[in-house]
């Protein structure tokens, strides 16, 4: 039985700046990382592998350099990595992305029964949290979102029981295989790759599935298959507040300045 971990390579958002003139992301020199939520999805898949002996396949849709991130997944113990990459997939929103991922899972399921699809709750670049549920809906899988703990997995009964973290309370839910679960960061601490595994992963095969392999209808994928289009990206302009003493390195001075300002504005009484 197979667990499919869906991961995405994202720009390291702490290092992303937006070009004020063109309104686009300045991608040059920005390193790519595995979406942090997905590292937890991968880790949870690997823990289930360690405990129940399931196989783990990682899939990712993205440009060819996504291979680097997939290799990182192989280095921590994923059994198989599939890169879904084709110009035709480009410009996809969550609808079109979930289409490609869902079809890839169908492809995998033809060879081996898929027990679980595990996704991170959301990505740090899109922040939509829609792709996981999108996959589940397309495939007709049960969907358990916002999971912060997997209570049990019963391979005979083909069932999974998890805890969902909702606002203010927890919910324990059960679903039959195949199921899609999306995980929160609290669920685990991702592991660190050992050096021998890294070296093996360096030239382990990453399977490429482009649209020649997948044969998807061009109208359902990429920009054409997207229901939304990006008009403009911009940093919101600051309309309130002021910058005080930029470049002060002394925390004491910063605090003094701040307290002075707050007192001046009658927001603090001393």
């Amino acid at each position: 039985m197979l667990i499919v971990a869906c991961i995405k390579q994202v720009p390291d958002t702490t290092q992303v700046k937006i070009d004020p003139v063109t309104g686009t992301l300045i991608r040059e020199g920005v390193p790519f990382i595995m979406n942090p939520f997905d590292t937890h999805a991968l880790e949870e898949s690997l823990r289930l592998k360690d405990k129940y002996g399931l196989r783990v396949a990682v899939i990712s849709m993205g440009p060819p350099n996504t291979e680097v991130t997939l290799r990182k997944a192989l280095a921590v113990g994923a059994d198989e990595a599939i890169l879904l990459s084709d110009r035709a997939f480009g410009g996809a929103d969550t609808l079109a992305t979930s289409k490609v991922l869902a079809e890839a899972i169908v492809g995998l399921a033809q060879k081996e029964e898929v027990a679980l699809v595990i996704c991170g709750k959301q990505t740090i670049d899109g922040d939509t949290a829609q792709v996981g549920p999108g996959i589940a809906t397309r495939l007709g899988y049960s969907q358990l979102t916002l999971v912060d703990h997997i209570d049990s997995l019963d391979l005979n009964a083909r069932k999974i029981r998890c805890r969902r973290k909702l606002e203010g309370w927890h919910e324990v839910v059960e679903a039959s295989f195949p199921a899609m679960i999306s995980v929160l960061r609290e669920i685990n601490h991702p592991r660190y790759p050992t050096v021998p595994m890294r070296l093996i992963a360096q030239d382990a095969p990453v399977t490429l599935w482009d649209n020649n392999v997948m044969q998807l209808d061009k109208a359902t994928i990429g920009l054409n298959g997207s229901a939304t289009q990006v008009r403009r990206i911009f940093s919101p302009e600051r309309t309130q507040g002021e910058i005080l003493g930029e470049g002060i390195n002394d925390p004491g001075k910063v605090a003094q300045l701040l307290i002075g300002k707050l007192v001046e504005k009658d927001l603090l009484f001393i």
Binding site: Q15, L199, N249
Partner: protein
């Protein structure tokens, strides 16, 4: 005089064969270790052996070492006497001191007699010390030590017994040149009938022979094997100061780090045979003395025990049965010990036989990190931040230049700029250290130095990664940095952090990078001594105490530059703490400990701050961003932060400009 040649010859041969077999068994295990070239520069090595082994240079650095010095040299001299004794027992007609010209014979008799007395007294002193004033980390009451001491004592007693009875019997031509034996003959054996004396001679001779051969055969099984190995260990000692760890080559199918005893270099194994169990390393170790599980002497001991246990299996090509790490028993080093080390090198600095503790500890860390990905939880984000953003906190590299906003700082340009100011992660990101960075930049400007920075392109030097055993990540980072230095034409570098300093200078050298690295303390001192800085005297420093950083002092022997700079700039010599210079006590942050919790025992920085507070200082001068943080935290802990300020040398000098 040998009473029974044939029986003795049989016993002698058996004893020597057995000794040879034991020694062979022991030393064959050493050959299990990995290659390590310790046969280069033989002249230098020979000199080291003379100076440190025969000269006992480090042994006598502690007051009690004198006793060992005496015992050692008595032992050396008596080696001749004992060799003569054994050979005479075998070939009484041919080998006998008495066959020498009488002048020489008398002289040697006198020397042996007196030296035996000294040895005996030294033995008594050693016993008294072990019983009455046991040093804390020596395992002073170990049975093994008493067996050895008693054997040496017994040997001396047998020597006197034999010679005194010979003198009383009238058989000793050198009688009047043997004051001690003569005295015993006159007082103890006087007036005994001749047959009785002959019998005593017989008895003492055999006691002497048996004790001597017994001692020889006991040695390979004793904890005091150092009697055989310490001298060669000084010969094989590292020719350079041990400031770094060897590189690893990242090939598939290799193993990384040391998780099994035979992965150590052979010298690491030989080290474990050479430990004298003196406990000096543990006495001085900041981890041991603040109640951590780490005890450097025991780490070395466990390596030896592990080798004894697993070595014979490995020789037979079998699997090991006692894990080197984490089995929770003698012969296995605990993970807690391995992580507790600050790599302060105090242990290596005091070890009389130059055992290399730190590389061995890092070897084992490498196994934990590289082969098992098993390390304290806090390190996960540290490692990831380092790999992703090349700094410990994962701050965006663009922030590296934030300290320079508002002042005019130029980027390093090959040909135009002389020095690269390698700001370092602390100097660039840490709010407190940025003040040091600014102070230093003002000094550099005032001193007319041509300098520039790499800004957001600067990488972390990787010191903590390497000491924490993440050699794989360090290796990549070092290559990146060196490539950048080459591309940008960087040749001369100023650092403000002793860890950057040591890494760029000593670690990067292994990659063929010959950089001229200077620590700010050296540069500032040079500027001051050359009169390039206009100093106007220090204000508000009060009583000034100086703290030596491990990576500046012990690692790179920079002790005088900061002191001299301080003295000239402030007009006062800094006050020394109880432990200073090469005995300085670590702040607790080295070896990657900066990024680890310290929850067991007393905090190392608090211990050091308490030591500083004994001097009632107003200002503590440090030269390292880690020391700065540790001191400030420690002072807060002791509620003394309002009374005592911590300043970097650069800040103090900056104040006097």
């Amino acid at each position: 005089m040998s009473p029974n040649v044939m029986p003795f010859a049989v016993i002698f041969v058996v004893a020597v064969v057995f000794f040879g077999w034991s020694a062979f068994k022991r030393f064959r295990l050493i050959t299990l270790g990995k290659a390590d070239n310790r046969f280069n520069e033989l002249g230098k090595r020979f000199w080291n052996m003379l100076f440190y082994a025969f000269g006992q240079r480090r042994v006598v650095a502690r007051p009690f070492g004198i006793n060992h010095f005496i015992l050692f040299w008595c032992f050396m001299i008596l080696l001749i006497a004992n060799a003569e004794f054994l050979l005479n027992g075998l070939f009484p007609e041919y080998i006998d001191l008495a066959l020498l010209p009488s002048g020489l014979y008398y002289a040697l008799s006198l020397i042996f007699d007196l030296v035996s007395l000294f040895a005996f007294l030294a033995v008594i002193v050693a016993v008294i010390r072990r019983l009455a004033f046991p040093p804390p980390n020596m395992d002073a009451h170990s049975r093994d030590a008493f067996v050895i001491i008693s054997l040496v004592g017994a040997l001396m007693l047998a020597f006197f017994g034999l010679h005194a009875s010979e003198i009383a019997h009238g058989l000793e031509p050198a009688a009047s040149y043997m004051p001690v034996s003569g005295f015993i003959a006159r007082t103890v054996f006087a007036g005994l009938p001749l047959p009785m004396l002959a019998w005593l001679i017989f008895i003492f001779w055999w006691i002497h022979a048996i004790v001597l051969l017994g001692f020889l055969n006991y040695l390979p099984y004793s904890k005091h094997m150092h009697i055989m190995t310490a001298i060669p260990n000084c010969f094989f000692k590292s020719l350079d100061k041990v400031t770094t760890q060897p590189r690893e080559e990242f090939k598939k199918e290799s193993v990384f780090g040391v998780g099994q005893v035979d992965y150590f270099p052979w010298k690491g194994l030989f080290d474990s045979y050479s430990c004298t169990v003196c406990g000096r390393c543990s006495d001085i170790c900041p981890a041991t003395s603040t109640g951590k599980e780490l005890n450097p002497r025991l780490v070395i001991h466990d390596i030896k025990e592990n080798l004894f246990h697993n070595g014979p299996l490995l020789v037979k090509g079998e699997k090991t049965t006692l894990p080197l790490i984490g089995a929770g028993c003698e012969g296995s080093v605990s993970e807690a010990s391995i992580w507790a080390c600050t790599t302060c090198a105090a242990c290596m600095e005091v070890c009389p036989v130059f055992i290399e503790h730190v590389p061995r500890i890092v070897d084992m860390r490498r196994d934990l990190v590289e082969m098992r990905a098993k390390f304290p939880e806090e390190l996960l984000s540290f490692f990831e931040n380092m790999e992703q953003r090349s700094n410990p906190w994962g701050i965006a590299p663009a922030e590296r230049t934030k300290w320079a906003s508002g002042i005019d700082v130029k980027p390093f340009e090959s040909g135009k700029t002389e020095y690269l100011f390698f700001v370092g992660c602390y100097g660039a990101f840490d709010a407190r250290s940025r003040r040091v960075t600014l102070a230093l930049s003002r000094i550099l400007n005032a001193g007319g130095i041509s300098w520039g920075i790499l800004g957001k392109d600067e990488f972390c030097c990787g010191d903590s990664l390497r000491r924490l055993g993440n050699e794989f990540a360090f290796d990549r980072m070092a290559r990146d940095s060196i490539k950048m230095f080459q591309e940008r034409g960087v040749k001369k570098i100023i650092t403000q952090c002793p860890h950057c300093y040591n890494t760029l200078k000593n670690d990067y050298r292994q990659y063929g990078a010959e950089l001229e690295v200077v620590h700010h303390t050296e540069l500032i001192n040079t500027l001051i001594q050359e009169g390039k800085l206009k100093l106007n005297g220090a204000k508000n420093l009060g009583k000034l105490v100086f703290h030596d950083s491990c990576y500046l002092g012990r690692y790179n022997l920079i002790y005088d530059a900061p002191r001299q700079a301080l003295a000239t700039a402030t007009g006062q010599h800094p006050v020394e703490m109880e432990r200073h210079h090469d005995k300085s006590f670590c702040c607790g942050a080295g070896g990657g400990r900066m990024w680890l919790e310290e929850s067991v025992g007393k905090r190392i920085n608090v211990a050091r701050v308490e030591e500083a507070l004994q001097e009632n200082p107003d200002t503590v001068c440090v030269c390292c961003p880690y020391c700065m943080t540790m001191f400030e935290d420690g002072l807060k802990d002791k509620d003394a932060d309002a009374k005592v300020q911590v300043l970097d040398l650069a800040e103090i000098v900056d104040k006097t400009l």
